[in-house]
C-alpha cells in the first residue's frame, strides 16, 4: 500500500474538513501491521509489536482581544518494537509503505542485536490475553474537530472580555487544545486493537498589575481539568461565566495578606490535591523508578525495596485508599488496551493506608512476582506517539473518598486555624519523592471554622509519609472530583503522558507553611 492509499482509507479529509470514522480495523493498516510483524520475525525477533498512529491536534490561543495562534497538526507514522534474545530494539519512521515498515522492523532487530552485547538479564514478558479485533474510543459527545474554529475563537475572546471588564485585570491569556490519537496496535502475541483517544485542554489566566508597588498577581483556571472528553467539556467549563471570578481573585491577590510562616492545618481542594497525589503517590509507586530504571532522570523512589515495603509501609491513615485505573470515564489515561496490548486493571496501590502494589508493564512483572504473587501486568505501558518506545507510565492514580458524606465546607467548619488552598501552583519534589514544596492559585485563611480572608505567598513543605499520615479528614463520595496533569514528563528521551487524579477535599494536620514573598526587595 502506498501513502496515497493509506490516506484514502484512513482520513476522509484533512485539517478542519476531516470526517472522523469510528474506530475501525482498516484492512490496509492491518496489512501493514502484519507485514511489519512478519519482517521482524523473519529477521530473528522472538517477539514484536507495531503501532501505526495518526496524531491530530488543533489549538487556538488568545491574549486580550487578539488571537495569538491558530494551529492544526496531523502526522502519521509507524513504530516497531522487538525482542531478540531478551534485548529490546525499537525503530520508527513516518514512511508508511510495505517496504518502509519492513525496513524499520529489520532496523529494530539489528538494534536489539547490538543491545544484546550489553544485556545481562534477558527481558521476560508476562502473559497477555489474545485480542482478535479490539476497538475502543473515548466517550466523547461532541467531536472537537467538527466544531467550527470561529466558535472556539469567539468563546475565548468573549471570556477574555469578561475578565477584562473587572477593574484592575490587565492581561488575559486563554486557549483551548484538542488531541486525537488514532492508534492501531498489533503484536506477535495475537493482539490487534484500534483505539481513538481524545483529549482536551481549555485554559485561562488573568493577571493584575500594580506598577507603583512593582507587584503583579495571576489567577488561572485551575478548576477546569484537562479531560479525555470532547468539546462538551469546553462548553461545561463555562470560561465566560467563570472569567470574572478569576479576574477578581487576581486583583484581590494584590492586596491579600502575606502569610505568616508557621504550622497550619491545610484544607486542600481536589483541584489542588490532585497534583500532590501525582507527585507524592503516583510517581513513587512506578515500579521502574523503584528498581532504579529511571535513576538518571526522573529518579528513584523512597518506596523501596519492594520486599521491605510491600504490605508494610504505612503511607497514611487506615482510611486512606488509593486506586490505579485506566477506566474512569473521561479520565486522561482511559483506554481499552495499553501499549503492551494488555486490558488495564483497576486495582489498589494503597489499602487501608498500607502500600500493597506498584504500577507495572509486561516486562516488569517478573521483577515483582516474588513479592506480589501477581503474574500479569496492570496495563501501565504507554508511548507518547508512534515515534516513541513504550514504557511504564502511571495510570490514573486516585485517592478514594471517605465513607462520611462530608464536603469542603464541612472540612473548613471543622478547622480552627488553617489555610484552604485551591488550584495548582509552584511544585517541586526530590528525586526519591521524600521532600516536597507546593504552592497554589488562591489561599484563604481559616479561623474558628470560617474563612476570614485571602492570603498570598503561601507554600507548604513536607516529607511525603509525614504529610500523608497527617491526613485526618476526608470528603465523601459526592465531593470526589477529577483533575489531571496534561504533560507529565518521564523517560529518556522525555515523553509526555496525560493522566487524571481523582480525590475528595482533604484536611492535613499541622503542616509547615513558608512565606515565599520574603525575598522581594
Amino acid at each position: 500500500m502506498d501513502r496515497r492509499q493509506f490516506l484514502g482509507t484512513t482520513a476522509a479529509g484533512f485539517a478542519a474538513a476531516a470526517v472522523l470514522p469510528p474506530p475501525q480495523a482498516d484492512s490496509a493498516i492491518r496489512d501493514l501491521c502484519l507485514h511489519a510483524l512478519d519482517a521482524a520475525k523473519a529477521a530473528g525477533a522472538g517477539y514484536a509489536d507495531v503501532r501505526i498512529g495518526r496524531n491530530r491536534s488543533q489549538s487556538v490561543a488568545t491574549r486580550e482581544r487578539r488571537v495569538t495562534g491558530a494551529n492544526e497538526s496531523e502526522t502519521y507514522g509507524c513504530g516497531v518494537r522487538v525482542l531478540v534474545d531478551g534485548a529490546w530494539g525499537f525503530a520508527a519512521s513516518r514512511e508508511l509503505t510495505r517496504d518502509a515498515v519492513a525496513h524499520i522492523a529489520r532496523s529494530a532487530v539489528a538494534q536489539a542485536r547490538a543491545n544484546r552485547r550489553a544485556t545481562r538479564r534477558p527481558v521476560v514478558l508476562a502473559p497477555v490475553d489474545p485480542v482478535a479485533d479490539g476497538r475502543w474510543q473515548s466517550p466523547i459527545e461532541v467531536d472537537p474537530f467538527k466544531v467550527p474554529i470561529e466558535d472556539k475563537i469567539d468563546l475565548l475572546l468573549r471570556a477574555n472580555e469578561a475578565a477584562l471588564a473587572v477593574p484592575g485585570a490587565r492581561f488575559v491569556n486563554s486557549s483551548m487544545a484538542f488531541f486525537l490519537q488514532e492508534k492501531t496496535y498489533a503484536s506477535t502475541d495475537d493482539v490487534f486493537t484500534v483505539q481513538h483517544i481524545y483529549r482536551c485542554l481549555p485554559q485561562m489566566s488573568v493577571t493584575a498589575v500594580d506598577p507603583r508597588a512593582g507587584d503583579f498577581q495571576s489567577r488561572n483556571s485551575a478548576e477546569i481539568a484537562p479531560m479525555g472528553l470532547g468539546y462538551e467539556w469546553v462548553t461545561r467549563a463555562d470560561l465566560i461565566g467563570n472569567a470574572p471570578r478569576w479576574a477578581e481573585e487576581a486583583v484581590q491577590k494584590l492586596s491579600a495578606k502575606s502569610v505568616e510562616a508557621g504550622s497550619y492545618d491545610l484544607v486542600l481542594d481536589p483541584h489542588h490535591l490532585f497534583l500532590t497525589i501525582h507527585e507524592s503517590i503516583a510517581h513513587p509507586t512506578e515500579l521502574d523508578r523503584v528498581l532504579g530504571y529511571e535513576a538518571n532522570y526522573a529518579g528513584t523512589s523512597f518506596a523501596a525495596p519492594p520486599e521491605a515495603v510491600l504490605g508494610k509501609l504505612k503511607y497514611g491513615p487506615e482510611f486512606m485508599q488509593v486506586q490505579g485505573d485506566r477506566a474512569q470515564p473521561g479520565s486522561l489515561s482511559a483506554c481499552g488496551w495499553d501499549d503492551d496490548g494488555v486490558a488495564p486493571e483497576t486495582y489498589r496501590l494503597i489499602r487501608n493506608g498500607i502500600l500493597v502494589d506498584y504500577q507495572t508493564t509486561r516486562d516488569q512483572v517478573e521483577w515483582i512476582r516474588p513479592y506480589t504473587g501477581r503474574t500479569r501486568s496492570h496495563g501501565c505501558s504507554y508511548a507518547e506517539s508512534w515515534a516513541d518506545v513504550q514504557f511504564q507510565r502511571m495510570p490514573n492514580i486516585s485517592l478514594l473518598p471517605g465513607e462520611r458524606d462530608l464536603d469542603v465546607d464541612d472540612l473548613i467548619a471543622a478547622t480552627d486555624r488553617g489555610i484552604y488552598i485551591i488550584g495548582r501552583g509552584s511544585y517541586s519534589i526530590d528525586q526519591q519523592r521524600y521532600n516536597f514544596q507546593f504552592g497554589g492559585q488562591v489561599f484563604y485563611e481559616i479561623s474558628g471554622g470560617k474563612i476570614v480572608g485571602m492570603l498570598k505567598d503561601v507554600a507548604y513543605q513536607a516529607r511525603t509519609t509525614d504529610f500523608w499520615n497527617s491526613l485526618d479528614l476526608l470528603g465523601g463520595p459526592r465531593s470526589y472530583t477529577l483533575n489531571g496533569s496534561f504533560n507529565d514528563g518521564k523517560g529518556q528521551p522525555s515523553q509526555s503522558n496525560a493522566v487524571s487524579h481523582g480525590c475528595p477535599p482533604a484536611r492535613f494536620h499541622s503542616v509547615n507553611v513558608i512565606n515565599t514573598g520574603r525575598y522581594r526587595g
Binding site: A15, N71, G77, A118, I153, P211, S428, D430, I514
Partner: protein, 449 residues
C-alpha cells in the same frame, strides 16, 4: 534522508509547498532528521530507539489573518492538502493587529554544527559506548543508569517573500547516574556537545560518577541555612537558563517581570548582578553552535544580555521592537557565561567552610517578582572545610534567586560546555564556569539519595 533533508531537498520541498499557495503570504518551517538513543539501567541496556521524521508547518496569511497547519506527508496530495487547510483556517481567524510583514531574503552566518563522529553514533556505536560505562560500574560493584542520545537533522524556513534559511546540526549528550547497591550513595556525570570527539570519554564519565557515588555515602545532616557554595558548572547551567527565560522585553514593559522597574519601565542599563558577570548568546561560538536564525527567519546575532553586571539587552520580538522603536532582539544562540581561568579545585581551595554542589533538580518558579526558584541538590553534595572536600552532606532544598546568587559572587572559574537539560539529553547549548557564591539559601533537608 535519515539524517535530515539536504539543502537542495529542503529547498525543493519548500518551493513545492509555496508554489501551491494562493494566499497573500505563506511561510514553511521544515524540520527533518533522526533521533537515536540508548538507555541503560542496572548496568545493562534497557531500551533504545531510532526514529526518523520530517515535519513541515505551513503558515498562510489572508490579509491580516493567519493560521498554520503541520504535516509529515509530502506527496503531491499531502502538500496540496496542507496548503489548502492552512489557507482555510487563516480565512476563519480574526485579523491580527500585531502581524508583521514576512521577512524578505536575509544573510545568515554559516554555523558548522555537524561532525562526522557524531553522525556515526548509530545503535552499535552507542551500545559499545554504553557497554564501557556499564562494565566499569559492574566491575566497581555499583549500579549505573544512563542515557546516550544523538540528534541529527536539518531545519529550513522559506516564505513567499523570498526568504530561505537552512541549518544542519548534530548533537549528542551522555549522562550517567551511579548508585551504590545499598542505595546510600549517588553520583552523576554528564557531557554534551555537537562533536562526539570533544565530549568526555565514556570511561572518564564512569569514573567521575562512580567516585561521586562512593563519596556521597554516609552524609552528614547539616542545618538548613545560608551557605557558601561552589556550584559545579552543571549546577550553574541549571540556574542560568532560568534567568534568560525571564529576559522578555514585553513582559518587563508590561510590568509583569523581574526586569520591570517599580513605577514603570525596565531595568535595561541597570546593574543587576555582580560586575564580573557577562552573559551572552552567539550561535557561531565554537562551543554553542546553535541555529543562525529563529523561527521567523530572523538572523540570530551575538547578543550580550548582561555585560559586567549591567542588563544590556532584553529579547524583543519584531512587533514589540517596532512598537517600542528598537531593533528586534531574538532569543536563541545558546548561552555563555564568561569566566576566568581558575579551576574548580582552585575555587574549592578558597572556601574555609561551604558546600560543593554537583547539580540541581526539579527547579520551579516560586515567585516571578523576585525570580525566586525552589529545587534540590542531587547526586553529590559535599562539605568543604579549609579548602578541601571532606565528606558527604545530606541533600538540601533551596529557595533562591539566580539574581541574588549572581550578586553574591565570590569567584568565577573556567567555562565548559555542560549537559544542563533536566531531562539528561540533548538541550540548548550552555557554556558556564563553576562559581563560588556566598549565602546560598537552603531551606530544608531532603532524605533523598
Amino acid at each position: 534522508m535519515a539524517e535530515g533533508l539536504t539543502r537542495a531537498q529542503a529547498r525543493d520541498l519548500c518551493e513545492r509547498i509555496l508554489a501551491r499557495s494562493t494566499a497573500d503570504g505563506c511561510q514553511v518551517n521544515l524540520t527533518s532528521g533522526a533521533d537515536g538513543n540508548t538507555r541503560f539501567a542496572a548496568n545493562q541496556i534497557s531500551t533504545s530507539g531510532d526514529t526518523s521524521n520530517a515535519v513541515a508547518t505551513v503558515s498562510s496569511r489572508v490579509g491580516r489573518r493567519q493560521a498554520s497547519v503541520t504535516t509529515n506527508l509530502f506527496d503531491d496530495d499531502g502538500v496540496a492538502r496542507v496548503v489548502a487547510a492552512s489557507e482555510r483556517l487563516a480565512g476563519l481567524a480574526p485579523e491580527d493587529p500585531e502581524q508583521m510583514p514576512l521577512l524578505g531574503p536575509q544573510t545568515y552566518r554559516e554555523v558548522p554544527a555537524t561532525f562526522a563522529a557524531t553522525e556515526r553514533l548509530d545503535a552499535a556505536v552507542r551500545a559499545d559506548a554504553v557497554r564501557i560505562v556499564a562494565d566499569a560500574c559492574e566491575t566497581a560493584g555499583v549500579v549505573g543508569a544512563g542515557f546516550l542520545q544523538r540528534v541529527a537533522g536539518a531545519s529550513a524556513i522559506a516564505n513567499s517573500a523570498g526568504l530561505f534559511a537552512y541549518h544542519r546540526s548534530a548533537e549528542a549528550a551522555f549522562t550517567l547516574t551511579v548508585r551504590t547497591p545499598d542505595g546510600q550513595g549517588s553520583g552523576w556525570a554528564g557531557t554534551a556537545h555537537n562533536d562526539w570527539d570533544r565530549m568526555t570519554r565514556p570511561a572518564s564519565l564512569a569514573e567521575r560518577a562512580i567516585t561521586k557515588a562512593r563519596g556521597s555515602r554516609e552524609p552528614a545532616a547539616l542545618e538548613p541555612g545560608r551557605y557558601t557554595v561552589v556550584l559545579e558548572p552543571t549546577a550553574v547551567g541549571n540556574l542560568i537558563g532560568l534567568l534568560r527565560f525571564a529576559m522578555n522585553a514585553r513582559a518587563a514593559d508590561e510590568g509583569r517581570s523581574f526586569f520591570a522597574k517599580r513605577g514603570g519601565g525596565t531595568k535595561l542599563g541597570d546593574q543587576v548582578v555582580d560586575e564580573r558577570i557577562t552573559l551572552l548568546s552567539d550561535p557561531a561560538d565554537g562551543d554553542l553552535l546553535e541555529s543562525p536564525f529563529n523561527g521567523e527567519g530572523l538572523p540570530v546575532p551575538r547578543t550580550v544580555w548582561i555585560e559586567n553586571g549591567v542588563l544590556k539587552n532584553l529579547a524583543y520580538d519584531r512587533y514589540w521592537a517596532d512598537k517600542q522603536g528598537v531593533q528586534p532582539v531574538p532569543f536563541g544562540g545558546g548561552l555563555r557565561l564568561q569566566g576566568g581561568t581558575a579551576s574548580q579545585d582552585e575555587l574549592i581551595a578558597q572556601v574555609s567552610r561551604g558546600l560543593l554542589v554537583t547539580r540541581l533538580w526539579y527547579i520551579r518558579a516560586v515567585d516571578q517578582r523576585s525570580l525566586l526558584f525552589t529545587g534540590l541538590t542531587r547526586d553529590g553534595l559535599f562539605l568543604i572545610e579549609d579548602g578541601r572536600v571532606t565528606r558527604a552532606v545530606r541533600n538540601f532544598r533551596f529557595n533562591e534567586s539566580p539574581v541574588i546568587a549572581l550578586n553574591n559572587l565570590e569567584a568565577i572559574g573556567r567555562p565548559v560546555r555542560v549537559a544542563a537539560a533536566e531531562s539528561g539529553g540533548v538541550g540548548g547549548s550552555v557554556v558556564v564556569p563553576p562559581l563560588l557564591v556566598r549565602e546560598f539559601t537552603f531551606t530544608s533537608i531532603s532524605e533523598a539519595v
